[in-house]
């Protein structure tokens, strides 16, 4: 049993780390070379085009669900409409080349999983962005943002994290190495915990029935797990794929969709940058939407 646990645990870790590194490196390059002013300049005025751009900007700026929040905060301050900003915040970690490639690799014989993940995630991002823009017309940002656990402070004390980098910067190569390292190790901790939980569930859950038998409970369990494990959107597909034998497709999709949209780690970042009412509404809305859509899909198309 211990051998089984360790083999599965280590396999998930070894598989995930290279993708985590690639994600951390790209996030670091974007962080160091692209500021939110550039993104704001290219944002169109037409609401439809804004939404489309918000959906697909992750293809150019593949940030994870944690790293995107300070960027979005800066965009809202600089006047980007709330609908587009929230849609972008939710969509970028999901609709970006690293996440898409990782999902393809994790589900090599199930390309429809990639399509379902992208389409359902995009729909939830658009809907949540629209609802939030209707519910919140006043400023949703906190006056003084809390320190971000997004490991972007280059070893310095946490500071107002507008990513303007008005503090004294070291050489760019050093900045990239340090930022990549911090991102890699920060998120890597959660990967290790996620892999351990995944391996434990694989060796202790019964082969049939139990939690894997009921659609409502297994979907809720996997969605909660996706939220709590906080695995980076660049690597979570591999962990999700390891659950396939234990759970049917709908619960695995719940894990795959909730994980890049919201998790406990980015909720902490959200709470540090946005007002509590907005943070609570956003998290609850996304969580309930993912669950309802998948349950509906399960009822219509089967488990």
């Amino acid at each position: 049993m211990i051998n089984d646990f360790l083999t599965i645990f280590l396999a998930v870790v070894w598989e995930t780390l290279p993708f985590l590194l690639i994600g951390s490196l790209i996030a670091s390059l974007v962080h160091n070379f692209v500021d939110e002013e550039t993104i704001r300049r290219v944002m169109p005025n037409n609401p439809l085009l804004q939404t489309l751009m918000a959906l697909f900007i992750g293809l150019i700026f593949p940030l994870c669900e944690c790293a995107i929040i300070p960027v979005i905060r800066g965009l809202i301050r600089k006047g980007v409409p709330l609908r587009a900003a929230i849609t972008m915040m939710l969509a970028v970690p999901l609709i970006n080349p690293i996440s898409i490639a990782a999902t393809f690799m994790a589900f090599p014989e199930m390309p429809y999983v990639v399509v379902l993940r992208l389409c359902l995630g995009a729909a939830i991002a658009i809907f949540t962005g629209s609802v939030c823009s209707l519910l919140f017309t006043k400023d949703i940002l906190k006056e003084e943002p809390a320190p971000s656990p997004c490991s972007c402070c280059h070893g310095r004390e946490p500071h107002d994290h507008d990513h303007d980098h008005d503090h004294e910067k070291g050489p760019l190569l050093k900045e990239v190495i340090v930022h990549t390292k911090n991102e890699f190790f920060d998120v890597g901790r959660f990967i290790v915990m996620g892999a351990a939980v995944s391996a434990l569930l694989q060796v202790v859950l019964p082969a049939e029935g139990g939690l894997t038998g009921e659609l409502w409970s297994s979907t809720l369990l996997m969605q909660t797990l996706g939220y709590l494990l906080s695995i980076c959107s660049h690597a979570d597909a591999f962990v999700a794929a390891s659950f396939l034998g234990r759970f049917s497709l709908i619960p695995v999709l719940a894990f795959l969709i909730i994980s890049p949209l919201i998790d406990i780690k980015n909720t902490i970042v959200l709470a540090g940058n946005f007002k509590p009412k907005f943070t609570a509404t956003l998290v609850l809305l996304v969580f309930v939407l993912v669950y309802l859509i998948l349950m509906l899909g399960g009822v219509v198309y089967g488990n």
Binding site: M1, N3, D4, L6, T7, I8, F9, L10, A11, V12, V13, W14, E15, L17, P18, F19, L21, I22, M105, A106, P108, E109, H154, G155, R156, K174, I177, V178, T180, K181, N182, F184, F185, D186, G188, R189, I191, V192, M193, A195, S198, A199, Q202, V203, A207, F238, A241, S242, L244, G245, R246
Partner: protein, 261 residues
């Protein structure tokens, strides 16, 4: 406080070296391929290069900038844990429970041709060739039989299968057992046990689950305890064989075999 500060500077290169050493062990012993499919295993070289860069960078900081405060967080030690385990752990055969959990189940939709007589075969272009489910052709034939449901082509043909023996009264009829291998899609975590049912004339052989067996017979079609009617090997001869270096095969056809396969 001073000790903590010093630790933050000295620990990182040591930990990066530990991580690099663990990766080195995995590649030198070939154990990495017991965890990962080769095409994904080689991506780990990126992490190894990154670790070398970090070792050089953190050593440079210690030597050239001893006054600069280190940015290492002690919670980073969590990521070092799997590397430490990897240095001490060598993956072995899965337990009986995990083999059972990982067994792939099928629900075949295509019924065999009823009119067919034993000894005859449907039109398939395959003469009485020996079908060998060895490491190289294991996935190919299983794909033919279960995924494409082309098993009619192989009914009544001589077949040899080599793999991990699995018998459990709860899941198999008295005179039936199973021989399979783990099909690894990406990593050991997503591996599934796949193979063919065996049917013996009398009792099943005195082989323990998890041991390796070579069975020779013909491919037939029969009732199983948990999966209904399935293709199975009616065994004429069997022999226990040595365990192969890897329990895994990859979902690749012979012409696209990965180098380590």
């Amino acid at each position: 406080m001073e000790i903590k500060s010093q630790l933050k500077k000295v620990l990182p290169p040591l930990l990066y070296a530990l991580m690099l050493g663990a990766y080195g062990k995995l590649f030198l012993t070939g154990e990495i391929f017991l965890y990962l499919r080769p095409r994904y295993a080689y991506l780990s070289l990126l992490v190894m290069v990154f670790l070398v860069i970090l070792i050089v960078y953190s050593s440079y900081l210690i030597i050239k900038k001893p006054q600069e405060e280190g940015d290492f967080k002690f919670s980073y030690l969590i990521l070092c844990l799997p590397f430490l385990v990897a240095l001490l752990h060598t993956p072995e055969m899965y337990s009986e429970q995990t083999i059972q959990r990982k067994k792939k189940l099928y629900d075949l939709q295509t019924a065999p041709l009823i009119a067919e007589e034993p000894g005859e075969s449907v039109e398939n272009g395959i003469e009485n060739q020996l079908i060998t489910l060895d490491r190289e052709h294991f996935y190919y034939y299983l794909h033919e039989i279960y995924i494409d449901e082309n098993y009619q082509k192989y009914l009544h043909k001589p077949v040899i299968i080599r793999g991990i023996y699995f018998q459990d009264d709860e899941y198999f009829r008295e005179n039936q057992a199973f021989v399979g291998r783990f099909i690894m899609y990406c990593c050991a975590a997503d591996a599934v046990m796949d193979g063919l049912y065996l049917e013996f004339e009398g009792d099943h052989p005195p082989v323990e689950t998890g041991e390796w067996l070579e069975a020779e017979g013909t491919l037939e079609y029969g009732e199983t305890l948990t999966e209904g009617e399935m293709p199975l090997v009616r065994v004429k001869e069997w022999r226990q064989i040595d365990r192969e270096p890897s329990n895994y095969v990859f979902p690749t056809f012979p012409e696209y075999m990965e180098p380590e396969n």
